[in-house]
C-alpha cells in the first residue's frame, strides 16, 4: 500500500503590514486630575515623564470596545473582509477573565468567526511579539491575513496612590492587518526575555492572595530606575541588532516608534542611537500616556495620521516591558 504524500502549507515569500487602526480611552485625564493622591504636580509629572494628558476609558468603555473599534478601522484600511482574516492575535495584560481569551470574543464581534484566535501576554512588548507571530503565520502559509491587536484597559489595575507607574498609564487599543506581500515588509524580529527581572514590573499580588484576603486588589508596580536602565541601555543593543538584521542603517529610517513608556526613556534611546534628525520619533505618550501593548501601534498610527511620516517609509518599532520581555523589528509603514 502506498502511503500518500502529506500536503503542507505553501509558503509565501514576504509579508507586510497593510493597515493600522486606533482607539483611545474616551476620557482625557490631566496631570492635575491625578496629582493629589501622589502628592505631586503637573510640572513634576511633565518633567519626569513627558506626559501632559493620558487617555483613559470610562467605566462603560471596555477593553473589547476599544479593540473592536481599532480592528474595524484596520480591516477597512486593508480593503479586506473580516472573513478573510485567518488568525486573530490579541496582546493584552488587562483582559479581566483568565478564560476565555479576549481574542475569541473580538473575532466574533468583528465578523471573523471562526478564525483561530488567541491572546498573548508579553506586556509592553506584546504588539511587536504579535507582529513577529503574524509575520510567521503569513509567510508559512498558515493564514493569509492576520489581525494583530495590542489593547489595554490599564486603569482597572492601577492604584491612585502609587508613585511608581500608575500615573503614567492610559487605556487604548491599536490594530494591524498583516498579509502577503510582493516585497519585504517586516524584518526578522529581535526578541527575547529576561525572567531574572520578573519582579521589576509586576502585579502587587496574585489573584489567589486577593481571593484569600491576603492582599488588596492587585495593581501594577515597577522598580522605575531598574527598568529605566534596562529599557535604555539594553534596548539600545536590541535596536541596533534589529537594524543590522534588517540590513538598514539608522539614517534609512523614516521613524522610530518605541513603546511609549516615558519620554525620558525615548529621549535617551534617541541619544544613545545617535539618530539623525531626519528620523521622526514617536512621542504619542505626551497626549496618550503609557498604554502598554497598545502604545506602539497607537504611536505609529498617530505619526501617519498627522502626516509626520508617509506610507512606504521604514520604521523601527520596539516594545519592552514586564517579563522583562522585548521585541524589535523594522517594518514598512502601511
Amino acid at each position: 500500500m502506498n502511503q500518500p504524500t502529506l500536503k503542507q502549507f505553501e509558503t509565501v515569500k514576504y509579508s507586510r503590514i497593510y493597515s493600522l487602526g486606533a482607539s483611545r480611552g474616551e476620557l482625557v485625564v490631566t496631570n492635575d486630575d491625578i496629582a493629589g493622591p501622589i502628592d505631586s504636580s503637573d510640572e513634576w509629572i511633565r518633567q519626569r515623564t513627558g506626559i501632559i494628558t493620558r487617555r483613559r476609558a470610562s467605566k462603560t468603555q471596555s477593553l473589547i470596545d476599544m479593540a473592536v473599534e481599532a480592528s474595524n478601522e484596520a480591516i477597512k484600511g486593508a480593503g479586506i473582509t473580516p472573513q478573510e482574516i485567518g488568525a486573530v492575535i490579541f496582546s493584552t495584560i488587562t483582559h479581566p477573565y483568565q478564560t476565555p481569551s479576549a481574542a475569541t470574543l473580538l473575532a466574533d464581534l468583528i465578523g471573523a468567526n471562526p478564525a483561530p484566535a488567541f491572546d498573548i501576554s508579553a506586556a509592553c512588548a506584546g504588539y511587536c511579539y504579535g507582529i513577529a507571530q503574524a509575520d510567521a503565520l503569513v509567510r508559512s502559509g498558515v493564514a493569509k491575513f492576520v489581525l494583530v491587536v495590542g489593547g489595554e484597559k490599564l486603569s482597572d489595575f492601577i492604584d491612585p496612590t502609587d508613585r511608581s507607574i500608575s500615573f503614567l498609564l492610559g487605556d487604548g487599543a491599536g490594530a494591524a492587518i498583516v498579509g502577503p506581500s510582493d516585497t519585504p515588509g517586516i524584518s526578522p524580529t529581535v526578541w527575547g526575555s529576561d525572567g531574572s527581572h520578573w519582579s521589576s514590573v509586576s502585579m502587587t499580588s496574585s489573584l489567589l492572595e486577593f481571593r484569600d484576603g491576603e492582599s488588596t486588589w492587585p495593581t501594577i508596580r515597577q522598580d522605575g530606575l531598574t527598568v529605566f536602565k534596562w529599557a535604555v541601555w539594553e534596548m539600545v543593543k536590541v535596536a541596533k541588532e534589529a537594524l543590522e538584521v534588517a540590513g538598514v542603517k539608522a539614517e534609512d529610517l523614516s521613524a522610530l516608534v518605541t513603546h511609549q513608556a516615558n519620554i525620558r526613556i525615548i529621549d535617551e534611546l534617541v541619544k544613545q542611537l545617535a539618530l539623525p534628525e531626519s528620523v521622526a520619533v514617536a512621542r504619542d505618550i505626551v497626549n496618550t500616556g503609557n498604554t502598554s501593548a497598545a502604545s506602539v501601534p497607537l504611536a505609529m498610527h498617530q505619526l501617519l495620521k498627522d502626516g509626520t511620516v508617509k506610507s512606504g517609509g521604514l520604521a523601527l518599532e520596539i516594545g519592552f516591558g514586564a517579563g522583562l520581555a522585548f521585541a524589535a523589528q523594522v517594518v514598512v509603514l502601511p
Binding site: Q47, R48, D223, G224, L225, T226, F228, K229, V232, W233, N262, R264, E268
Partner: protein, 82 residues
C-alpha cells in the same frame, strides 16, 4: 592604573555636565545630587551608567540610592576601581 579621587571627580563632573548642563566647577565633593544640584533620579541613573562606562566599574542598582553626595559617588568609584 586606578584614577585618583581628583581624577574621578573631574570625570564625574564632565558626565554630570553632559547630562544636566550643570557647570563642572559646581560639582564639588560636598554637594548633594538632589538637594544642591537638583538632579532627579532618572538623570542620576543616566549619570551612573555613563560613570560605569567611563571608569570601567559596576555600580549596582541598589547602591545608587546610597550615593547621596558627589563624595559618595567619587569614593564608591575610586574604591570599585580596585
Amino acid at each position: 592604573m586606578a584614577l585618583s579621587q581628583e581624577q574621578v571627580l573631574a570625570g564625574l563632573a564632565e558626565i554630570v555636565n553632559e547630562e544636566t548642563g550643570i557647570d563642572t566647577d559646581s560639582v564639588k565633593m560636598e554637594k548633594s545630587f538632589t538637594n544642591d544640584l537638583d538632579i532627579d533620579s532618572i538623570s542620576m541613573m543616566t549619570i551612573v551608567v555613563n560613570a560605569e562606562e567611563k571608569f570601567s566599574v559596576k555600580i549596582p542598582d541598589e547602591e545608587v540610592a546610597n550615593l547621596l553626595t558627589v563624595a559618595d559617588a567619587v569614593n564608591f568609584i575610586t574604591a570599585a576601581q580596585g
